[in-house]
Amino acid sequence: MQLTINGASMNVTAADDTPLLWVLRDRLGMTGTKFGCGMALCGACTVHVDGVATRACITPISVLAGKRIVTIEAIGATPQGKALQTAWAKVNVAQCGYCQSGQIMSAAALLAKTPKPTDTDIDAAMTGNICRCGTYPRIRAAIKQAAAGLEQKA
């Protein structure tokens, strides 16, 4: 079937029930989207589907025809994604870094909808993303920094 990923139309050969995660990783070689739980419990696989933060590990490709899928590999092309990647580097957020693709994708969806998030907004948007290294305080700081940067530009 055809999927629209990061602006490109891609021909995918996989069973209909295959979650997007494994199509991205195993069939298309896009390994920036991570596997953590397979049950939408940890957020490591977060992508955007029509702009909405979506867990790729439980989203079968059969429901994605005609939808716009954006992954960590291309989120930097959006103003929010770019601002977040810059802030993440500045705050030196990552420890092991494994969950950070998903963290940035969730944060990008948050900022697209809520340009000036409160701590409560951040908690609500980010609590589905687990970081076992414990980078939460820096993630919060980086989201605020990115939001401030975007506001200045606007």
Partner: protein
């Protein structure tokens, strides 16, 4: 990929006979040195610039990092050390990962909070030696004395003539020079450091991580690769009675079903008995695994039940056990004490739950096996793969990828051997094994379970006169040897026998315990249960004596003094020299004084709030924490702030020290509030992050304040960083809860215990 990158570059030095002789003599010398620190580790350390630095004609400096990156920042930290002594321009420094080869790189076991503490000095010498060779090459090309030139920020300058040459231009000539003798190297005065100890240094992997390009073990892709998931014995030591592969094999996309034999005896790092499904993608393999019909023989551990086992540990802790350390007369003093206090503390099994589950890829070409693995133990991975495949050690290459979390789990490379074994079964075809989260939680090398029983006698003035601690926990040694029943020195030396308390009558005992599952290192290891018990108990004693907890703790530690670990019967001392690394109660007192001052200890708090204190010495570093809690009327716990004071001696990469401590605080909160693996019928009962919960952003402490103690004396030996932050968090949290609510937590996790 990394090897190709290096081959495309000019090596700083070529392979002249002279250079090889120099390298061999360095190895011999390292082996003769006293067996402490890096010298005491298998294959010790290396400091040959030929091994660790390559400079291209474009001036790009590529540093080889031989320690595994799992979030501690070592892939940036070690290059900072080399670049500083090399006087390199940081923007021209790149990093590449060493494959598993300890003969060449020195010890690569990335555990024990040792990477910087053991390799700081060797890496300084690597940088200084490379700089010396560049200076010599420049002086020779200008025909001037080497003393008249100096390296400054990626160039060598001859000031008299104003001539200068960049490192790229000099690399070729420098390559032909001998490596200078170690004794002749001129190291920087610490006041000249440009990167070491400095702020605002971003991770070298930062851009790759934030753009989805960083490669972890699970991301490896090889041409023609198959994806494998494995159904493993749900009970440790269990075996397949029979299985039917046909239903799985019938699923389109399944290529092969293969049994992985287990090994008899201790777990070691060997794969568990299981059935692997190899398929065209991971999803097909996961689905097909569900279709496998396997009948298991559970074996002797099929009755393991954590509720029953807890009772067994408690029974053992209530009877005398093997005496590890004894001073004075505990029983007589206890009998006449004005007040006797006793308490038991329980810490359940915990799973590492690295965000990247175990995963590895392997292929075999012309009898040579290559493995890609997120491993903390590259050498052991290589040895285990070679042994299992029946290949000579030289015929195995282990490429170390980034680790999506380690915490000790990835010190055990059973998953890498699985991948290599399956590739061999497929005639060398590339195979990647992926563990699902339930695989990870069911087949971890779990943190040990423990009961700690403490008893103390107080005199009429509230001073502690007798101390009895019995620690009961299955030992990590059970993973390597048949049926050991006592904690090993490396476990008892983690805050059990080496409590630096000024108590005249003291006895430490270790009754027997038998392991029923795979037990392994978890970040901070035995320090976690020992610190939880000891530091909670001290707060209980302070409360019993009616005294301020901080004052009571400082009195118990006693005056500043340097204690020989041998006097505490600690023969291990984290592998470090007792002379260079005595237990320094002055430093322990200082972190306590610092953290309580910074946290506003003693301030009045509204009802339902409290501050809790704990301090702990581990991995030759000193830590104290104050946790602030708020407990609502219906028992909801929030942690608005944590202060943590840390003394690890000189600080090489302060930002990463802070991040490790922030992470340790959150991991401590996580295991204290939520962490528990239970067993029933030999099976771990938690399957995923719904039943094995970890702390998420909304529940994490919002405000973590790290207070690094000033350390300007670079002649002081370095302390560990990755692990020591964790142990005091759990008791500090429980002590805060007691202050806020009057409820004493003696069983972890806290879970619903605060609900009223």
């Amino acid at each position: 990929m990394s090897e190709q990158m290096i081959q495309r570059r000019t090596f700083l030095a070529g392979l002249s006979g002279l250079v090889l002789v120099a390298s061999v003599s360095r190895i011999a010398k390292a082996a003769d040195a006293p067996k402490y620190g890096a010298d005491g580790m298998q294959h010790g350390w290396r400091d040959d610039p030929l091994t660790f630095v390559a400079i291209g004609e474009d001036g790009i400096v590529t540093v080889v990092v031989h320690r595994s990156e799992m979030g501690q920042g070592i892939r940036t930290g070690l290059p900072m050390v080399i670049a500083d002594e090399l006087d390199a321009d940081w923007s021209k420094v790149r990093v590449t990962q060493a494959p598993g080869d300890e003969e060449k790189f020195g010890n690569q076991d990335t555990d024990g909070s040792r990477s910087m503490r053991h390799h700081f000095d060797p890496m300084r010498r690597v940088g200084a030696a490379a700089r010396t060779m560049l200076e010599a090459a420049a002086a020779a090309s200008w025909n001037v004395p080497v003393s008249s030139v100096r390296a400054v920020n990626h160039e060598v300058i001859h000031e008299q003539s104003g001539r200068r040459l960049g490192y790229g231009a000099l690399a070729g000539a420098a390559a032909k020079l001998p490596v200078p003798a170690r004794e002749t190297l001129r190291l920087k005065n610490p006041s000249q450091f440009r990167y070491i100890g400095k702020e605002n240094i971003a991770l070298l992997d930062s851009s790759d991580i934030y753009h989805g390009r960083a490669q972890y073990g699970i991301d490896v892709r090889l041409d023609g690769m198959l994806y494998a998931v494995v159904a493993r014995s749900p009970v440790f030591g269990g075996k397949i009675a029979r299985f039917d592969a046909a239903p799985a094999q019938a699923i389109p996309g399944v290529v092969k079903v293969i049994e992985i034999p287990g090994s008899p005896g201790p777990a070691l790092f060997a794969p568990l008995n299981g059935v692997a499904v190899l398929a065209e993608d991971t999803w097909i393999a996961m689905k097909a695994r569900q279709a496998l019909q396997i009948e298991w023989n559970d074996g002797p551990h099929g009755t393991y039940d954590s509720v029953v086992y807890r009772t067994e540990l408690e029974q053992a802790a209530r009877k005398p056990g093997k005496v590890l350390r004894e001073a004075g007369d505990v029983d007589a003093t206890m009998a006449k004490a004005a007040r006797k206090v006793e308490a038991e503390y329980y810490l359940p099994h915990i799973a590492h739950a690295t965000m990247e589950p175990p995963s590895a890829a392997a292929r075999i070409v012309d009898g040579h096996c290559e493995v890609w693995a997120p491993t903390q133990a590259p050498q052991a991975t290589r040895e285990n793969v070679a042994k299992r495949l029946g290949l000579p050690f030289e015929k195995v290459t282990v490429h170390v990828t980034l680790l999506g979390g380690g915490f000790g789990r990835k010190s055990k490379p059973d998953f890498a051997t699985e991948a290599a074994f399956l590739s061999q079964q497929m005639g060398g075809r590339p195979v990647k094994v992926v563990w699902t989260r339930d695989d990870d939680l069911h087949h971890d090398y779990f943190h040990t379970v423990s009961v700690e029983r403490l008893q103390a006698g107080l005199d009429a003035q509230g001073k502690t006169t007798a101390w009895l601690h019995r620690s009961v926990a299955p030992t990590i040694v059970s993973t390597f040897a048949p049926d050991p029943q006592h904690e090993a020195p490396f476990e008892t030396g983690m805050g059990l026998i080496n409590v630096p308390f000024d108590v005249p009558n003291l006895r430490i005992e270790n009754p027997a315990a038998v392991a029923h599952t795979r037990i392994g290192w978890f970040r901070s290891v035995s320090n976690v249960p020992h610190a939880f018990a000891v530091q909670s108990f001290v707060a209980e004693l302070a409360a019993a004596a009616g005294r301020d907890h901080r004052d009571f703790l400082l009195d118990l530690i006693g005056p500043p003094r340097r204690i020989d670990p041998a006097a505490l019967k600690d023969s291990w001392n984290h592998g470090e020299s007792p002379v260079r690394y005595p237990v320094d109660t002055g430093r322990l007192r200082r972190v306590i004084e610092t953290v309580t001052r910074e946290a506003g200890w003693g301030r009045k708090l509204p009802k339902g709030q409290g501050l809790g204190l704990a301090a702990h010495y581990s991995f030759v570093s000193y830590v104290a924490a104050v946790v602030a809690v708020e407990v609502s009327a219906d028992g909801k716990l929030t942690i608005p702030r944590v202060d943590i004071a840390f003394d690890c001696g000189p600080q090489v990469y302060p930002d990463r020290i802070r991040s490790q401590l922030e992470g340790a605080v959150i991991m401590g909160v996580s295991l204290a509030t939520l962490g528990e693996i239970t067993f029933k019928n030999g099976r771990a009962q938690q399957d995923n992050f719904n039943t094995y919960q970890v702390t998420r952003m909304a529940e994490a402490p919002r405000d973590i304040r790290v207070h690094l103690l000033p350390a300007t004396d670079w002649s002081m030996p370095l302390g560990g960083v990755g692990e020591p932050g964790l142990p005091p968090i759990v008791p500090a949290l429980c002590n805060a809860i007691f202050v806020a609510t009057g409820k004493r937590i003696r069983r972890l996790p806290i879970g619903e215990q605060l609900a009223t």
